[in-house]
Amino acid sequence: MPFNQVQSLSDLKKLQETFYDAIFDPSSNNIKQASTYIIGTEKISEAQRLSIYRDSILGGITAALTHIYPVCVKLLGEKYFTHMVAGYLKKFPSESPDIGNYGEHLPAYIAEFKPAKELVYLSDVAQLEWLWHKAFNAPSDLSSSPEQKPLSELQNISEQNLPLVKFCSVSSANLLTSLYPIQRIWQVNQHDFQGDHSVSLDEGGVSLVIWRCADFGMRIDELNEDETKFLSAVLNCASFGQIAEIDFNQGLDEIVQRCIQTGLVIGFTTG
């Protein structure tokens, strides 16, 4: 049977894997292999037909990543971003049918991307954009677990059981710490930003929480050292007893109250 027949599942699998390789790793050998399946014409060769699909696929995925990482595109420029995505795709295939799940490893890839090595803050800015994307699409907290109790019931917990309490944060919350002023870099690169666009790296690092509050408003809040320690413990499911042993600069009650008031802490469990 000629190589390019497709009369069984294994034939079809072979064709599709060959096609995939020619798209994402267009070496001359991969294109040659894929071309054996394809009818070329005088008007358009086999390789040109493959490149139509390649351009379409890379264009679609690049557009999706541009939507998730607009500030990185602005900082790198469209040309370099597109070039970077082509390399990223080869190293990190998309493993989900939902294109919105693709791009999680881009911050780490950027950290190793030589053409951008002078933009030392870029990987952290990318991480901020990914966490923003995750928070935007996070499930609503209305559907939280049945074990979660409202904060109003906290007063019914005996002093003896208080160390067992585990605070619950909004499900969209993620912490990000950077050595660079990434929140300012992110802000001045928003399309509607008005004001001084200059940012000095001497402004120093930040600790941030990226989250979506109950009315679906997106938030990036800067945290002080105590708030960072507290929220980090909450996100790691630490009990109140464990949190009480952390060395805070301020009183723990004050930190808890502030996180409840902002809406970051929304309930608790005693399990």
């Binding site: 399946y37 049918p97 499930p139």
Partner: protein
């Protein structure tokens, strides 16, 4: 007695593909659009703002769900997690129709997020028919399958695309979503008669039509969904309406998306032609 939680559940006339840039206008003005199509793959998360918006739209309009993630033409097993999330979405939004494409999107668990061609053979008719039947059994409802645009042919192809669709229609009870722009684009790219294609399609299975604008490249047409519908596609659409009757029709516009009034004006052109055959 209907158990639907929504008041409008059937689609008629010319609808629009809902894109995020138009949400606010739709929420604020509640335009006189008969129905919207939502891209199911954009609403498969467990929650988040997109899903809240989709439910808000659904309160006022009937909708269809259209996806690219089923990968019906793939040699991989069906992604039951994806289908499970689609089933949840269907329950939540109660679409009039659920559709996907006669194409493959993923292989060996790796996703391209694009619609890729496969050879039209007796084997692929059987393979894809079995998968459509599996999907329909799992979802508990019929789906519509759409013809994609294509830019290459395979040596191993044994039949035309319309013969392939006839084979699918014989082996399954799925319905068809005919993309008239795709037929025209493929006809130019592969040098076949698009009117012969239309004549071969089982008319009773066609429940929806898609229209879009292609881009003319140096030596082929490319289905960009980024332009107004071109005159030869309108002509082919008229022939399709004459053959299939007053079929609900959607204007797709996915790149360089215009303002809402421009999009609506395009849908009204289709609406006028639908009325002529109604």
């Amino acid at each position: 007695m209907s158990t639907s939680k929504y008041k409008a559940n059937s689609i008629l006339g010319a609808g629009l593909g809902l894109r995020s840039s138009h949400y606010q206008e739709v929420f604020n003005t509640k335009p006189d659009v008969p129905w919207f199509e939502l891209l199911s793959d954009n609403y498969m998360a467990e929650g988040g703002l997109p899903l809240v918006r989709a439910e808000k739209i659904r309160e006022d309009y009937p909708i269809t769900l259209h996806g690219v993630g089923m990968s019906l033409g793939s040699a991989d097993p069906l992604d039951m997690d994806y289908l499970g999330r689609l089933k949840t979405l269907i329950k939540r939004l109660e679409p009039t129709y659920v559709s996907d494409h006669l194409a493959w999107v993923s292989i060996s668990g790796k996703h391209t997020h694009d619609l890729l061609p496969f050879p039209y053979t007796d084997f692929t008719v059987k393979h894809i028919s079995e998968r459509i039947n599996q999907v329909q059994d799992f979802l508990g409802q019929e789906i519509l399958v759409e013809n994609p645009s294509s830019y290459l042919d395979f040596h191993s192809t044994e039949m035309t695309e319309w013969e392939f669709i006839q084979g699918i229609a014989k082996s399954t009870d799925c319905n068809l979503l005919m993309d008239i722009n795709n037929i025209y684009v493929s006809a130019v790219n592969h040098d076949f008669d698009p009117y012969e294609y239309l004549q071969a399609i089982p008319a009773d299975r066609v429940k929806e039509i898609h229209l879009a604008g292609y881009e003319k490249m140096d030596n082929y047409l490319f289905d960009t969904h980024g332009y107004q519908v071109h005159p030869p596609v309108w002509e082919l659409y008229k022939a399709a309406l004459n053959r299939f009757g007053a079929t609900p029709t959607l204007i797709e516009w996915d790149t360089d998306i215009p303002d809402f009034p421009t999009l609506r004006a395009e849908a009204l052109k289709a609406e006028k032609l639908i009325q002529e055959v109604a």
